[in-house]
Amino acid sequence: MSALAPPAPRQSAGINWRRLARALLPALSLTLVLAAIAWLNPRAISYFGFTLMLNLAVPIALATIAQMFVIAGNDLDLSIGTFVGFVCCVTATWLKDAPLVGAAMLLGCIGVYAALGALIYLRNLPSIVVTLGMSFVWQGLAILLLPKPGGKAPDWLLAIMGVKPPFIPFPILAAVAIAAVSYFGLMRTSYGAILRGSGGNAIAIDRAGWSLLKAKAGLFALTGLFGVLSGMALVGITTSADANIGNGYTLLSIAGVILGGGEFVGGRVSPIGAVIGALTLALAASPLLTFMHIPPDWQVAANGAILVIVLAARVMISQKGRE
């Protein structure tokens, strides 16, 4: 270690710069969106403003983390949106009226996710096909449960989502907690390394004697768990449910993972980045657009345009960093 080879110092400096840039990119896009909001409406940067603007950020962040787990294993979950909707319906009906049955149903959902992961691994099926099919299953079940919007969130859930902590708005505290838990679980635990490795080089993990079946089922079960949390959080905010409530979450969650520095293949994901990506999307969605005086009719299209610009910028910057 004492005598470094001549090219070594230069190269390691390059690596550090690249890793730093990769890690800071998501934070940069969040800062840009915040700066735009502050410029358009300085009063929004306040305790009350953040509580209002980040109202829906908690369920989006949870859905994004859910999506991140499947992406870590080189898969994609196209059913997360309708799954969140289904969980909302269960929460607003069964979990309120018969808590034990409701809890069993939600646990069963996580089991279904684990089974899907096992099926995808064992039969070597493309995950987008399986989860696209499942998205219709979840949607159908949600409509069966709640044909028209209604139901009511359990009181304890309303209480949790309505907490008003001193100084720091609840959504920000919740986002930090979500990021911390998922970062520790996936990036710091010894089994988390195996889970990520299964996306990076499955053959190597297999040769080292680990079960890829367990890894895949585990990743999908984690997706199911965070999907359930996302649906419960959403009902806690909206107080009642609707079978179509979560439909937009599928694409939002994928965009959040990618915006946060994740890649579709290779097991490269970042839980902290994913949460920041979700916050960016939540802010760029309605608050920013409303402050820009864009009429509601055009907001969905404008939201899409912002997504395209932000993602394209990320790809361009990370390509530059690679060179």
Partner: protein, 490 residues
């Protein structure tokens, strides 16, 4: 044998086939404790398959595997690890998205608990320090950010780390292929130290000098069998080459600067300088010539063909192409055929402008073209409208030749196209190539089968991405090609 010690691994009559290809045809092989066995052989001799069998990642069709005196019936990768058999595979088996320490953790299930990251990092960095003292690799570096040479260093070091299970036999498959001379020397010195401490090694290398200098015993493989195995002192370079190639020949030093004789006077069609060629020889192909590209697999032949191919549509430094180009892909399943299409469509796709009728493709002309080539090249099918997958492998390959030859391309690049093709088909295609060459086409033919080079007018031998020998027709011989492929390891 001088070290008549404890035999830790022995294979007895091991056979393994992949489809119709017989990779191992009854291998007998053994390794004793504290012994370094060198394994050499030409492309496709079965070395890598043998290693996969030993490492438990490929199950043999027949034969016995005995490890530490116990016959292994349910042998697997996990069992191999429990028994202390480690393997550094040629294709790297690190997870690029994980750090160096995390990759060590993947390898050692025992590394867990609260401070596993520190333990894993210390384990791997200590071993790297021991083998490559000035490696410059940190435990928290991501593998994807390391150069290929450093990745190989991590991979090798990881194979020698010990946590709860022993490392009794370490198999090194081309471990020095991405290392420079300095680090390769460090690795070889470490291998000798480990062997002195009771570890056994199997060392596979194409660099014969390394094998001769560092191994106690050398086994030579050819055509899926171990043909000779003896103490290293019993061999020298010539004997090894003779055993691999089967012909005794006195050593003739290859002079890469020798001026080739008897080149065609026809116009030059291709002039290409391999990217890693510093000076001297460039590849030149004249009209009507069949040019062979030889050497060990993966030494830059395919890269050069691909750069010639792309030079036909946009300018590239160091490559000049004077006519349209067609490529016959080597991996026909992934790069060659369109699996959903019929045979006719697969043949016609390179000639669409010729088949066009207005904006659409003329079905009649496509059929005419396909049928003409069916008769000429003898594609065995009742109907050219059948799906391409209804053909046998050899006939699929013929369809790919037809695609190239039916086109307007005056230069045909062939990327080892005869892999897995039966002998009869090969002879037919050879005749066709000669006929087309007489008619003025130029062929650039990369092949791993030395026999095929006899069909060439001129052969360039590649090593490490550069041309190392330039053989005229009367100089082409198997020994000559093997000599050049292994030169530089004196």
């Amino acid at each position: 044998m001088a070290v008549a010690d404890v035999t830790i691994v022995s294979l007895d009559g091991v056979e393994k086939s992949f489809g119709a290809v017989r990779a191992l045809g009854g291998v007998n092989f053994s390794v004793s404790r504290s012994e370094c066995v060198g394994l050499v052989g030409h492309n496709g001799a079965g070395k890598s398959t043998l290693m996969h069998v030993l490492a438990g990642t490929a199950a043999p069709d027949k034969g016995r595997i005995v490890i530490a005196g116990v016959e292994q019936r349910q042998y697997s990768a996990a069992r191999a690890k429990d028994l202390g058999v480690r393997c550094v595979f040629q294709e790297l088996s690190l997870c690029p998205n994980l750090t160096v320490a995390e990759n060590a953790r993947v390898f050692h299930p025992a590394l867990r608990g609260f401070n596993w990251r520190r333990k894993a990092g210390k384990l791997i960095v200590d071993k790297l320090d021991e083998i490559f003292p000035d490696h410059g690799i940190g435990a928290s570096d991501l593998i994807q950010d390391l150069s290929i040479g450093r990745r190989q260093m991590v991979e090798v070091a990881r194979a020698f780390t010990v946590s709860d299970r022993p490392a009794d036999l370490v198999i090194l498959d081309e471990p020095t292929s991405s290392l420079d001379a300095h680090t390769a020397g460090q690795l070889l010195a470490f291998v000798r130290r480990s062997v002195a401490n009771g570890v056994s090694c199997i060392f596979i290398s194409h660099i014969l000098g390394e094998v001769l200098r560092n191994c106690d015993r050398i086994a030579v493989m050819r055509d899926g069998k171990v043909v000779v195995a003896d103490r290293a002192e019993a061999f020298d370079r010539n004997k090894l080459i003779a055993a691999m190639g089967g012909v005794h020949q006195s050593e003739r030093e290859v002079n890469s600067a020798s001026v080739p004789t008897g080149r065609s006077q026809a116009p030059v069609r291709v002039r290409a300088l391999p990217a890693r060629q510093s000076e001297g020889v460039e590849l030149i192909a004249h009209e009507g010539e069949v040019i062979g590209l030889a050497g060990l697999a993966g030494h830059g032949q395919t890269d050069l063909l691909l750069s010639i191919f792309s030079a036909s549509t946009r300018r590239r430094v160091g490559v000049e192409v004077a006519a349209p180009v067609a490529l016959v892909a080597g991996d026909r399943q992934s790069d060659g055929i369109f699996p959903q299409w019929s045979i006719s469509e697969n043949i016609g796709v390179r000639s669409l402008s010729k088949l066009r009728d207005g904006l659409l493709i003329s079905r009649r002309r496509e059929d005419d073209l396909a049928n003409a080539w069916r008769d000429k090249i003898k594609i065995r099918t009742p109907d050219m409208h059948n799906n391409i997958l209804s053909l046998s492998g050899g006939n699929q390959q013929k369809a790919l030749f037809a695609r190239a030859l039916a086109s307007d391309a005056a230069i045909v690049l062939m990327d080892d196209p005869m892999r897995g093709v039966d002998f009869g088909t090969k002879l037919e295609v050879y005749a066709l190539i000669r006929e087309e060459a007489r008619a003025g086409r130029t062929f650039l033919w990369y092949t791993t089968e030395t026999d095929e080079l006899k069909n060439c007018d001129h052969v360039y031998v590649f090593r490490n991405g550069a041309i190392v020998a330039d053989l005229a027709r009367d100089e082409i011989s198997e020994e000559r090609v093997i000599q050049s492929s292994f030169a530089g390891a004196h």
